[in-house]
């Protein structure tokens, strides 16, 4: 036991002290936060001013088109041909097709405006055309606005009528957990495999196993690397949160600070929009996600997550360690990698399916099979449609399976690390299982 602790310590320290760990720890959050900030920043950066010419000889546009930030509309009832538009200072030209009742807008551009600008232009046109249609149908605009409201629908479990089910949102949370497991197992399981291969190639392994049991060496490596992973992720989460906090404070300060807003000369339109935004209820989806989170029993979910996560990691990393021990070079790993990575990718696909079709037999079965259960069961649990006995059975199977794979891997490992020059095949690995220790 003491020796395992020594091995864990070495595996952990030797990786954490590497310059690459420091670089990744610093770079990771910078990349994530930077990426997020870049998207936010680019989204905020309106494209260049758009001067939209609406060619409307038939009088489709019934109301005034409202100019938005950096977008100005000009309606002309004369026909324009393409070349005149090309020569004009307008950036976008809108024509309507001939249908009187249901015209289609053909929008020509010189340079494609960004998505936000496209949406704004479309919305303004739609509003105007809608008004035209209302008038033609003789519908009062006011009553139409009252009638035209989205239907709010809630799905309720008959057993728990006091609360909305919010299954999709909860499945989303489960899927997030599953995705995290997938990345972690893949990233650090591969590190385990490389570490084993390195020891074999270095020829340091025979010196080591004259002092410790091969199994201790393998488990020490698996646990040590897992701790490196935890450390890295915790640092990333802390640093990313900090960076995003700082970044948004700096970036958004000018935009939404009311004092600067008050001083900026703005069109009444923009002020009105901002006012609406401030008072508007947040997006319905956001609320649902928060509600879904509040519905989850956080300690139970986190506990289960930790269990399935560690179980899955042990299962896969022990197999990867066995592969690392069996081969002489990275190129030889290919034939063994496929059967190990495939179930993981399958698990992710099935988990995705679980979000939309939670009752499917594939989801049910994959939540029991240990190679896929950590990810799939996690989704089922957060969705709240797994029975207690199902969860317990899945956990039991996972425990049995990872004890099985670590035992199996241990047997392949102790033979494999001392085998040089022999091209490992599946048959060969099978034989190694039965060599007497």
């Amino acid at each position: 036991m003491n020796k395992i602790a020594l091995i864990i310590k070495r595996e952990f320290l030797s990786r954490v002290r590497k310059p690459s760990f420091l670089i990744m720890t610093l770079l990771g959050p910078l990349l994530i936060a930077g990426g997020i900030m870049l998207i936010v920043y680019l989204g905020m950066q309106g494209s260049s001013d758009q001067h939209v010419l609406v060619v409307d000889p038939n009088g489709v546009i019934a109301s005034k088109l409202n100019n938005a930030d950096k977008i100005s509309f000009f309606v002309d009832d004369a026909a324009w041909d393409d070349s005149t538009f090309k020569a004009s200072p307008y950036t976008v030209m809108v024509r309507f097709t001939e249908e009187i009742t249901d015209p289609t807008a053909l929008i020509y551009y010189k340079k494609l405006p960004n998505l936000g600008a496209q949406r704004t232009i479309e919305n303004e046109l739609e509003k105007a055309v809608e008004l035209l249609k209302l008038r033609r149908a003789g519908i009062d605009e006011e009553s139409y606005r009252r009638v035209r409201k989205n239907l709010i629908s809630n799905w309720l479990d008959i057993e728990k009528t006091d609360q909305e089910s919010l299954e999709q949102e909860r499945a989303g949370i489960g899927f997030f957990f599953g995705y995290f497991m997938f990345i972690f197992i893949f990233l650090y399981g591969m590190q385990v495999m490389r570490g084993v291969m390195e020891e074999k190639q270095n020829r340091v392994v025979e010196v080591l196993i004259s002092s410790v049991r091969p199994f201790q060496l393998m488990m020490g490596k698996i646990i040590g690397i897992a701790m490196v992973g935890f450390t890295q992720f915790v640092l990333w989460i802390v640093a990313t949160t900090l960076l995003i906090g700082i970044g948004s404070a700096v970036l958004l300060k000018d935009r939404y600070d009311p004092s600067t807003l008050a001083n900026t000369p703005m069109t009444a339109q923009v002020q009105k929009q901002l006012g609406e935004q401030a008072t508007a209820v947040p997006d319905v989806n956001d609320v649902k996600l928060l509600k879904a989170m509040a519905m989850l029993d956080i300690p139970v979910i986190l506990g289960l997550f930790l269990f399935f996560f560690i179980g899955g990691y042990l299962l896969y990393s022990s197999l990867l360690a066995a592969i690392g021990s069996a081969v002489d070079s990275e190129a030889d790993t290919q034939q063994f990698m496929m059967p190990v990575t495939l179930p993981m990718i399958l698990a992710l696909a099935v988990a995705q399916m679980a979000v939309y079709n939670p009752e499917s037999p594939a989801v049910l079965w994959c939540s029991f099979i240990p190679f896929t259960s950590p990810i799939v069961m996690m989704v089922r649990v957060t969705m709240g449609n797994a029975m207690l006995w199902e969860v317990l059975l899945s956990m039991g199977l996972l425990i049995t399976a990872f004890m099985g794979t670590t035992w199996l891997a241990g047997r392949i490992y102790r033979t494999g690390i001392l085998m040089y020059g022999k091209k490992a095949s599946w048959k060969e690995l099978g034989k190694w299982l039965f060599y007497k220790g």
Partner: protein, 313 residues
């Protein structure tokens, strides 16, 4: 000290060791010899408990060996290496701690060794910055640092220049004199003659030769003598007619050096009695076979059981 009884080990269809029994005596240097692929490494791995035998027992000091005994062993494998990115000092400390040494004690002893070998400056160097020979030195220190009672060295001289090989040789002898039992596996027959007290030769999974170096060299002696003489060659030939055979004769500094093999049943005294009247004898020396020849002869023998004590060819 160490006793092996009927060790059998097979890998699938391949029989690596077939009933090997032998004994390594305490406080001596035992040479484990054999051609490549004979089963030496397998035997060593069984002794170090890296792998287990299919049949047979390993006894240490008269009782069955256990996993705990490994802590009192030092093993320098032929395939050796160190973590390239680790610092020399840390690495040596790590290996010592894995052997069960407390950190402080290991540090003290390491400092001692590093000073003695004048390599203090290496402590904070990374292994990848060392030359092969330097890394081998670190490896040797790591092997013997915990003062093992039983030391197994597999090709300890490979990768060393003659000066460092001498350094290692002296350390081995010093350790032996301090009471360490050493098992040395090597293909360098010169160092076997220099260092080993006993040898065991393994070929094709069998132990074909076992005993003290002296005894084995005697066993392989061919009754050949080198006689320095002056006198008539014909007279020499006549004098030897019934007692021995003249293998060859060379002129050296005005003297003839004749290699004479005695006929079966003859002894040196009888031959000399014949020779004395015919020629003038200056010196006589028995030709004892080198380990190198013994090795080749023992291995080229088809049936190990037939290796005779009085081989004439």
């Amino acid at each position: 000290m160490l006793k092996l009884e009927g060790i059998v080990k097979r890998y699938g269809q391949h029989l690596a060791l077939d009933g090997v029994s032998m004994e390594v005596k305490a406080g001596r240097v035992f040479g484990l010899l054999g051609p490549n692929g004979a089963g030496k490494t397998t035997l060593i791995r069984i002794i170090t408990r890296i792998t287990g035998p299919d049949a047979g027992q390993v006894y240490l000091d008269g009782r069955l060996m256990t996993n705990e005994d490994v802590a009192h062993m030092g093993y320098l494998p032929e395939e050796r290496g160190l973590y390239k990115k680790m610092k020399v000092g840390e690495q040596a400390l790590y290996l010592a701690q894995l052997k069960g040494m407390p950190k402080a004690e290991a540090q003290k002893r390491l400092k001692n060794w590093f000073e003695r070998w004048e390599i203090d400056g290496w402590w904070n160097k990374k292994v990848e910055e060392l030359s092969k020979g330097m890394a081998q030195k670190v490896q040797f220190i790591s092997t013997v640092l915990h003062a093992p009672k039983f030391l197994i060295l597999d090709e300890p001289f490979s990768g060393f220049d003659p000066i460092n090989a001498e350094l290692i040789r002296n350390e081995i002898l010093r350790l032996r004199d301090e009471g360490t039992t050493v098992m040395l596996s090597t293909h360098n027959m010169g160092s076997v003659e220099e260092l080993c007290d006993d040898i065991g030769l393994i070929d094709k999974a069998h132990l074909v030769l076992n005993g003290s170096v002296e005894e084995i060299r005697q066993r392989y002696a061919t009754n050949t003598f080198r006689v320095e003489l002056t006198g008539n060659a014909v007279a020499l030939g006549n004098a030897l007619s019934f007692t021995g055979e003249l293998l060859d004769a060379q002129q050296k500094n005005g003297r003839t050096v004749a290699r004479i093999r005695l006929t079966k049943g003859m002894n040196l005294n009888k031959v000399l009695t014949q020779l004395l009247p015919a020629v003038e004898i200056h010196a006589v020396q028995e030709e004892v076979p080198r380990m190198h020849e013994i090795f080749i002869r023992a291995v080229s023998e088809q049936e190990p059981a037939l290796v005779p004590a009085d081989m004439t060819e």
